[in-house]
């Protein structure tokens, strides 16, 4: 949808905003810690889909970066991290590929049993990320490198590629990742 084609009468917009917000405020009352502790969310989120990173190329097109079908250009994403003031950069370079998955779930789970006795001791809520059994990688690749400048187009650019990784096909990733606060604040 092209937003520039949507015309709203400012007066109508203002009225909508002001009217919509007042009754909502009137209905809301803060919940105490105790009341909140008794609230138990139901269900969760089930995600399927794919994530594509620079599959056909990134947004930058210049003498170095371009589309993936241009053989003389690089088309992957680049992430550079500087390790010392005025020093060189550690780079994750040419990151591209497609991750497709079905059945990534996200929910809050109360654990008070199981885990060979740990569950009873733990007795808390965790965020459970259900891994999707298999993730299909299509031409996923990245390269670890060390570079003298952040951008390849900067003057004096020199880069040493340390190694590159290429992954393709179904990766088996089963189980749940449980995430929760830990430590003594």
């Amino acid at each position: 949808m092209n937003l520039s084609r949507v015309y709203l009468n400012p007066a109508v917009l203002a009225a909508m905003l002001s009217l919509a917000s007042y009754p909502v405020h009137a209905e809301m009352a803060p919940l105490g810690d105790e009341a909140l502790a008794n609230v138990s969310g139901q269900g969760g989120i089930y995600l399927s889909g794919d994530i594509s990173i620079n599959d056909v190329g990134g947004p930058i097109e210049n003498s170095y970066f371009g589309r993936c079908d241009e053989s003389d250009k690089k088309c992957g994403a680049r992430f550079a991290y500087r390790l010392r003031e005025d020093g060189g950069w550690l780079v994750l370079d040419e990151i591209k590929g497609l991750f497709a998955f079905e059945g990534l779930t996200l929910r809050v789970r109360k654990i008070d049993s199981g885990f060979e006795g740990d569950g009873e001791l733990f007795d808390r809520d965790v965020i459970e990320l259900g891994l999707p059994d298999t993730v299909r990688f299509t031409d996923v690749q990245f390269k670890l490198a060390a570079s003298s400048t952040a951008r390849p187009t900067d003057p004096g650019f020199m880069q040493t590629d340390i190694f590159a990784v290429q992954m393709q096909g179904d990766v088996i990733m089963q189980g749940n990742l449980l995430v929760f606060p830990d430590g003594n604040p």
Binding site: P10, A11, A14, E85, E116, A146, Q168, Q174, L177, P181
Partner: protein, 361 residues
């Protein structure tokens, strides 16, 4: 939009609209007024709850398939970009990498495993440097499950699944519980140019890394990222063997039983520094220890007659077991020949500098 021609009703609507926008635009200004930057010393005092991570019923497996009749491969896992000293491309094809439960029979039979315990999980945390010997710094820490008192823990080699048998927190698998120790393995072959080696297999049974961590912070003097890395790796059996590329025949298996590696690179007195030089080469450096300040040690080396502070500094440096690396192998065997026990203990890294070098012409 800002047109004031019209009756008072129109004016009111316009005024209300402007008020809404003024409120929205002013909101961040009010918020910004409340925010103040924290200094390094204040940051180091912050000890918020970190994030605990536990993998529950976890299995990971990936590899490279043989090409079909058309030369297509459904699964590929390849590490490349490395060059040999004579400039040839080195290609490492990972045939199989797995992380799974105990008793996989060298990756043949993958079962789930738990990694980390709810009461002692993997952690990502910002810790107070003053608690770990890094003065006035906020330290980012990635840690495996920590070690616990030997009266409560489990034998790191998995010899016993009874509490009180060792210092590892992760429990070995039993008939009733999948355990928190993973079988980890990798089968790969290495090609240098057109020459492809035999398949190389590395398997670790019931491996546990309790007490391992990576700590990162910024060093003020060098304006550089500094770190401290500790890797504890225990496995009752670590084995390496080579097989033909079709896997039909395999050579003798090199077996290291009761393998224990406790590797310490960098410590609070000598952090490990990470850098990239002007030519784009990665440098990892453990600098020589800084002198503790003026203070003499007596000729006989005893504390009496020495500067007490200096003596204590060196005493701690040379006697602290946390700063030292150890490697111990219960029994080293090749095929059916036993070579007995091997042990390297108390290695202290006093200076280390590793620099990558580009061999590309």
């Amino acid at each position: 939009m800002a047109c004031y021609a019209g009756g008072s009703a129109t004016y009111n609507r316009q005024f209300r609209l402007i008020s809404v926008f003024v409120f929205w635009f002013a909101l961040p200004v009010f918020s910004a007024a409340e925010l103040q930057t924290l200094g390094e010393a204040e940051m180091s005092e912050i000890d918020g709850a970190g994030i605990g991570l536990v993998f529950d019923n976890f299995t990971f497996s990936h590899g490279t398939d043989r090409p079909d009749a058309d030369g297509n491969q459904s699964r590929i896992f390849r590490i490349s970009g490395i060059k040999s000293t004579d400039g040839q491309e080195v290609d490492i094809t990972v045939n199989h990498l797995y992380i799974a439960g105990a008793n996989t029979n060298y990756g043949e039979n993958l079962t789930p495993v738990n990694l980390g315990r709810l009461v002692n999980p993997w952690r990502i945390d910002v810790v107070d440097g003053n608690d770990i010997g890094i003065a006035n710094k906020a330290v980012l820490e990635f840690a495996g499950p920590s070690k616990i008192a030997p009266t409560e823990g489990f034998d790191c080699m998995g010899g016993s699944a009874a509490a009180g048998s060792g210092s590892c927190s992760s429990r070995p698998a039993t008939d009733s519980w999948i355990g928190e120790r993973a079988d980890i393995g990798m089968q790969m072959n290495v090609a240098v140019g057109d020459d492809r080696s035999a398949n190389l297999n590395i398997h670790a049974k019931s491996a546990v890394i309790d007490g391992s961590y990576l700590r990162l912070w910024g060093d003020d003097q060098r304006q550089q990222m500094a770190g401290q890395f500790k890797l504890n790796f225990y496995s009752p059996e670590l084995s390496i063997n080579a097989c033909t590329q079709d896997g039909a025949t395999c050579g003798s298996r090199i077996t290291m039983s009761d393998f224990a590696l406790e590797l310490a690179i960098g410590n609070s007195l000598q952090p490990v520094y990470f850098d990239v030089d002007g030519n784009g080469n990665f440098i990892l450096e453990v600098d020589a220890i800084r002198a503790p300040g003026a203070g003499q040690i007596a000729a006989n080396g005893l504390r009496a007659g020495s500067n007490a502070q200096t003596w204590d500094f060196y005493e701690d440096y040379y006697s602290n077991p946390e700063l030292r690396s150890n490697l111990s192998i219960g029994n080293f065997s090749v095929g059916d020949k036993d070579f007995g026990t091997a042990r390297v203990q108390g290695m202290l890294i006093q200076h280390l500098r590793i620099q990558t070098k580009d061999l590309a012409p």
